[in-house]
């Protein structure tokens, strides 16, 4: 996007690009044998991000005209990954899962309309990105509300899913204004620099938070319920004998 970057910007961009490897390494080190579907989705999402960086670089260097297609596809795929993660991460209950499917369908339809009819494949998908940010932020807030309502005695920050949710919440909150302004300001030199700084910084933050998520332990069983059951069994034994 920027032709002559200052050295500091190049460094930030480079760190941002390589930071994608960080959660991948952590996943392979600590969660390789984990069968949680939500974590697997995030693993594939990280791989997709790395592939997207490579494709983005190729388009930037060779087919700059078509780079907006990469951005548009990235927006849709990122949202799809998040919806899939959310689908698995949310506690059982048909309504919210159906809701996620509905939101995804709506978003997909909207992004297609925006991409083919409004933008006509030659501009940054600011509106779609903005809508994506709003949907994901709302879903993250709903997840946190559900965690608050739940009677689980497990600290919310000791689960991987919580860290993944706050990763998306912080990343998309931070880049929300950036994305909605990109379409109009993309040719502004100062904006290009700001774009690189903000996007790279939040990308690094996202990868650091995802790495923390990969460090979290498995959900322990509810010890108290077991303890109460033991008490009841002892009482029952005493009274029956």
């Amino acid at each position: 996007m920027v032709l002559n970057q200052p050295a500091i910007l190049s460094s930030i961009t480079l760190i941002s690009n390589f930071s994608d490897l960080l959660p991948l390494v952590f996943f392979l080190l600590f969660k390789k044998n984990n069968n949680e579907k939500s974590l697997r989705v995030i693993f594939y999402y990280i791989i997709y991000c790395i592939i997207n960086e490579a494709i983005g670089y190729y388009f930037y260097e060779i087919h700059f005209k078509n780079i907006f297609i990469v951005f548009a596809i990235y927006t849709v795929v990122e949202f799809s990954f998040f919806c899939l993660f959310y689908y698995y991460a949310m506690p059982s209950g048909g309504r919210i899962k159906k809701g996620v499917l509905l939101i995804w369908s709506l978003f997909f339809t909207f992004s297609c309309i925006d991409f083919f009819l409004i933008n006509q494949m030659n501009a940054f998908d600011s509106i779609t990105s903005g809508v994506e940010c709003i949907f994901i932020i709302l879903l993250c807030i709903y997840y946190l509300v559900v965690q608050l309502k739940g009677s689980n005695n497990l600290f919310v920050y000791s689960t991987s899913n919580f860290w993944i949710v706050i990763t998306f919440l912080i990343y998309l909150s931070g880049t929300f204004f950036l994305y909605i302004m990109t379409e109009n300001m993309i040719k502004d030199r100062a904006f290009q620099i700001q774009y690189l700084i903000i996007n790279s910084s939040f990308n690094i933050l996202k990868n650091v938070l995802l790495s923390i998520a990969m460090l979290m332990k498995e959900t322990p069983p509810n010890e108290q319920a077991q303890k109460n059951k033991n008490w009841d069994d002892r009482l029952s034994y005493n009274l029956k004998n």
Binding site: I137, I141, L144, Q147, L148, S151, N153, F155, V156, Y157, I166, L169, I170, S173, G174, T175, F176, F177, L178, M181, M185, D188, A190, F191, Q194, I198, Q224, K227, N228, W231, D232, R234, L235, S236, N238, L239, K240, N241
Partner: protein, 276 residues
């Protein structure tokens, strides 16, 4: 001029971008912090509740163990103080010198020993009945309660009656015994503490639950007082009621009727019909 305007506009938008980004970021961090701190407080509160529940469980378990020990001590005392001397006396009558006695004295001794052995049998039967009333085992809860109330009515001080509306299907044997013990304890408490003139027990079935309700016109207790007494260190009887209710997975409630005249104790027991 155009350049300046464009630059000014760009500068303004740049500010929007920076402040907007910072604002959103701060908002997200605040939201996460609020959730984390709120959840910490909730967990702290839940842990306190769990601790209290654990203490209560411990108290109930202790009460049930104490009750068991008291029961054992009572049986031991009955056997030692009553059955022991009776059998020892019978042995005295049937000692080795009996064969050297005259036939009339021998007959007299054998008759006395027989009488003492009969008394011992009766005593042991009473102990056995107090452990497991035979009427309860053979004829069910209704008959057992009628038996108990007949004995109470015999004193002439209090009028006790019972009515079972739906007793087509008996509860499981262990459930019946637990309900019987609860009702027995409640009736004993009413007689001991309430100065009631009458006690009336009714039974009914609704869905998968059996309901037992005791009415009396004495000075009773309400739910709040029951909970309070349950947490106190003394009062084994109420704790035993509570622990038996827990084993039955039922509920107990203490209240007073709308005219403030009769106290009511209602027991709700999930129905588990007897296995044939």
């Amino acid at each position: 001029m155009y350049f300046l305007q464009a630059s000014g506009n760009s500068y303004g938008l740049s500010n929007v971008l920076i402040f907007g980004t910072i604002g959103m970021f701060v908002m997200a961090i605040t939201l996460v912090s609020v959730v984390v701190f709120h959840q910490r407080r909730v967990i702290k509160f839940n842990k306190q509740l769990q601790k209290m529940e654990e203490e209560k469980q411990q108290m109930l378990l202790k009460a049930s163990i104490n009750f068991q020990e008291e029961e054992r001590q009572r049986i031991a005392a009955d056997l030692h103080d009553d059955a022991g001397p009776l059998l020892a006396t019978a042995r005295l009558y049937l000692n080795e010198n009996l064969i050297h006695q005259e036939p009339a004295i021998q007959l007299q001794s054998i008759f006395s020993a027989k009488q003492i052995i009969d008394d011992s049998i009766q005593l042991i039967r009473n102990i056995s009945h107090s452990l497991m009333p035979p009427t309860l085992k053979n004829f069910g809860l209704e008959s057992a309660m009628k038996d108990l109330f007949e004995k109470i009515n015999g004193s002439g001080v209090i009028n006790a009656s019972t009515r079972f509306h739906d007793n087509r299907e008996r509860l499981r044997e262990d459930q019946e015994l637990l309900v019987f013990r609860i009702l027995q304890e409640l009736v004993t408490n009413i007689i001991k503490h309430s100065c009631a003139g009458f006690i009336h027990l009714t039974q009914n079935v609704q869905g998968n639950f059996s309901y037992f309700r005791i009415h009396h016109d004495g000075k009773g207790i309400l739910q709040e007082e029951f909970e309070k007494l349950n947490y106190d260190s003394g009062g084994l009887g109420l704790k035993n009621i509570e622990s038996r209710i827990k084993v039955l997975k039922g509920n107990i409630s203490f209240d007073i009727d709308s005219t403030q005249t009769y106290y009511k104790v209602t027991i709700e027991v999930p129905r588990e019909p007897a296995r044939n």
